[in-house]
């Protein structure tokens, strides 16, 4: 395998940065230092001004395969992920049929292994995601599944959720919850408030999310289980989760880029591109989320990358499916939200790489899922899963320049700051100067 020498970059470790070089050979990092000799034959990439850090890990990717291949496949989603700087994604269980058994999980893992990046799986908590009976969590855990979720909807029944937490605990896996009480969400299509009320759209109130966050915190307390909160979108949700963590409960959480860059006013023109669950919230919630990104209560930025075929986003607002693309824009949006030029690179990689890798339990040498070392330090011996991010690069998001199968980005035309230059996944340079190799 060829060698690669990343020159003069800002190497971002887990609590410090240092200008230097990183030498990759035969799929591994072989040397990191202020000045690394080219052993001869290594291709050099000048990384001056760019950040070199562990590849991003997405905890929340909808790859749509099996069932909705017209919207995305494991392969097309992996390409989009690589462009976005991701070297590993966790594929969500809400495919058709749902990833609720060993055969389907194996299928996704096998297909994923043939892509540019690592693909882990989030299995379903309940059979068919119907919220009635537990899925075979232990069997799926033996395949290396470390996260389980019925995402798309949460587990509505509190007794079943309590059993799932209790059952999962000794397996060393974590449940991940989409918090929205479906009865309170009432089939609504945007945040409930003055705007939904004036526009005659049924609202999904913040209460629908917050009441379930509150419920699940208590279920974790009661069961001693481990829970990850998916895409928290309100100030109150974050407050409750922060308090619960302080109390020592085993709770992790993520926020999605759309929730800290867009607010409900985007829905004013009834463009289904801005329809997502949980919905885009108020401007105050956006401020709260951005503030929290700077602190230590959020483990990860996760995309909730949700491809939908174009014709489905041409339906009426209340009839169109919820969800938007995220993989190709998340890093730039996170950089912007962390203050742009004042963004702390350590925090940046904590939110995009190390935090999510910890939640996903991606371990070096985990033979069952063949993952590289996505959360380790940048030192010799580690598998080379790296990203080179140019924080000064200005560009414009465009739906014509996406790499997945779908076009439903809410960011078409948006001015972006900071861009992934290179992605080295599974030891190979897969994205070079922003283009797939």
């Amino acid at each position: 395998m060829s060698s690669l020498l990343l020159r003069h970059g800002v190497v971002v470790h887990d609590d410090s940065v240092a200008v230097g070089d990183v030498l990759v050979h035969d799929g591994r990092i072989v040397e990191v230092g202020a000045k690394v000799e080219n052993p001869g034959g290594a291709r050099e990439i000048d990384c001056s001004g760019s950040w070199i850090g562990p590849g991003f890990v997405d905890l929340h990717t909808h790859l749509r395969e099996p069932g909705r291949e017209e919207a995305e496949t494991i392969e097309s989603g992996a390409r989009a992920a690589a462009i976005g700087g991701y070297t590993a994604v966790v594929a969500m269980a809400n495919t058709e049929p749902a990833l609720d058994n060993v055969a389907l999980v194996s299928y996704v893992l096998d297909r994923g292994a043939r892509t540019l990046i690592d693909v882990a799986v989030c299995g379903a908590i309940t059979q068919g995601r119907r919220g009635e009976l537990l899925a075979p969590l232990a069997e799926m855990a033996q395949l290396g599944v470390r996260l389980f979720s019925d995402d798309g909807t949460g587990v509505q029944n509190p007794l079943l959720m309590l059993r799932a937490l209790t059952y999962a605990k000794p397996l060393g896996v974590r449940l991940a919850q989409h918090c929205e009480d479906e009865l309170l969400a009432a089939g609504g299509s945007m945040n409930e408030g003055l705007l939904s009320s004036r526009r005659g759209l049924v609202g999904r109130p913040a209460l629908a999310e917050e009441l379930m966050v509150m419920r699940d915190i208590e279920l974790v307390r009661h069961s001693g289980g481990a829970l990850h909160f998916l895409h928290l979108s309100t100030a109150r949700s974050l407050e409750m989760v922060a308090r619960a963590r302080l109390e020592g409960l085993d709770i992790t959480c993520e926020v999605a880029p759309h929730h800290f860059t867009l607010d409900e006013s985007s829905c004013d023109g009834f463009d289904p591109m801005f329809k997502v669950h949980p919905p885009l919230r108020t401007a105050l919630d956006v401020v709260a989320l951005r503030g929290a990104l700077q602190g230590s209560d959020i483990d990860a930025v996760a995309t909730d990358h949700a491809p939908h075929a174009p014709e489905l986003k041409d339906l009426a607002f209340d009839e169109a499916p919820a969800g938007m693309l995220g993989l190709e824009h998340a890093a730039s949006l996170t950089y912007e939200a962390l203050g742009g030029e004042s963004c702390d690179p350590v925090r940046f990689f904590s939110l995009l790489s190390r935090g999510p890798a910890r939640v996903a339990q991606l371990r070096q040498g985990d033979a069952r899922v063949r993952h590289g070392a996505h959360w380790a330090a940048l030192v010799a011996g580690e598998d080379a899963n790296l990203v080179v991010f140019d924080p000064a690069r200005r560009w414009r998001a465009s739906r014509e320049e996406l790499h997945g199968r779908s076009l439903n980005t809410p960011y078409h035309g948006r001015a972006m700051l900071g861009r992934v230059r290179a992605t080295i996944a599974k030891g190979r340079l897969v994205v070079d100067e922003g283009e797939l190799v």
């Binding site: 003055l194 004036r198 005659g200 759209l201 009834f270 463009d271 014709e311 041409d314 009426a316």
Partner: protein, 328 residues
């Protein structure tokens, strides 16, 4: 703020200025006269094509719009959605593109989803889109014809014409809207029109049928319904939208009638000149007692009659894009 409908879409009344609304009412007033002639037709939109696209059946609104278009000499393409490919899963964008390919100047559209007309207006920017009711969002021509009817009645009483009065008769006018505000596109359009024209609007209804965040609407919620009836110059009743699930928002129709129906005893609280309105179709015996609906101060049939001139005015201004000239 849109200051004139000339050459514009009519999607909502929320951003229409007072002068734009007055212009529409004045134009409609000219058309009232046309409708009383033996030959009820003017060549204003001769050669223009107006499509009517009703995803939700509404015989009265559809007839009213199509009559209006025909009286302006426009050709009318009427798409019966129930028998079209829309039922076969065609998207909003494809349906409108297909009709557009036939060559149309305007589309009058009714849809069960809020915002559908706004979406369609983005797909066909060269076509004037007239919202004939979208979900629970807006029903702009209903709001306009209700305002027109109020102005007409008040002008007659004052011995003047609507046109001469402009928006004067609305200054400080006390309007009470009662019932299922939450699910009503008519309420939203009525409120926008009345407030823009200078009226004071209050709403009354069961807590569950008031819209979320109503305290931030340009209306106030009445604390005492019976007192509000005495206060009002105009009472607008709304149909309980049972098909939109309003049933589960109140314990029973009987209880709704008991608490907010305009019964005979309650109607006695109204001043004799208070105008009673209803956009129809009425649930007689639910939100309004039959005998109240037939009082002389109830102008429900007049509202229906005014539908045609208002829709003529809207189509004329939006499509012809000019002021009234010698077309009459």
């Amino acid at each position: 703020m849109t200051t004139t409908l000339r050459g514009q879409n009519l999607l909502t009344l929320e951003d229409l200025s007072r002068e734009a609304i007055v212009e529409i009412l004045d134009t409609a007033e000219s058309f009232v006269e046309v409708n009383s002639r033996t030959i009820k037709k003017v060549p204003a939109l001769k050669g223009r094509v107006v499509a009517s696209l009703f995803y939700e059946e509404s015989t009265r609104t559809r007839l009213s719009f199509e009559t209006a278009a025909k009286r302006l000499s426009a050709d009318v393409l009427s798409l019966a959605v129930a028998s079209s490919s829309v039922k076969k899963g065609e998207s909003l964008r494809d349906t409108i593109a297909t009709i557009d390919a036939l060559g149309i100047d305007a589309v009058v559209m009714r849809h069960q989803s809020s915002g559908a007309a706004v979406q369609v207006s983005r797909y066909v920017p060269h076509v004037r889109v007239i919202n004939a009711g979208d979900g629970q969002h807006q029903h702009p021509t209903q709001g306009l014809l209700d305002a027109f009817t109020i102005r007409q009645v008040l002008a007659e009483r004052a011995g003047t014409t609507g046109r001469d009065s402009g928006s004067e008769l609305f200054e400080g006018l006390r309007v009470l809207i009662v019932g299922d505000i939450r699910h009503s596109r008519v309420a939203r359009s009525d409120i926008d029109a009345y407030v823009a024209l200078g009226a004071e609007v209050r709403v009354a209804g069961p807590g569950t049928l008031l819209p979320p965040d109503v305290e931030h609407w340009p209306v106030s919620v009445v604390a005492n319904y019976d007192e509000a009836l005495e206060w009002a110059d105009v009472v607008g009743l709304l149909r309980l939208q049972r098909e939109r699930g309003s049933g589960s928002f109140v314990p029973s129709l009987g209880e709704f009638t008991q608490t907010f129906g305009l019964s005979v005893p309650r109607a006695r609280r109204l001043r004799p000149e208070t105008i009673i309105m209803h956009p129809g179709p009425m649930n007689r015996g639910v939100e309004i007692d039959s005998r109240v609906a037939d009082l002389p101060s109830a102008v429900i049939e007049r509202q229906v009659a005014n539908g045609v001139p208002i829709r003529m005015a809207v189509l004329y201004l939006a499509v012809a894009g000019t002021r009234m000239e010698s077309v009459l």
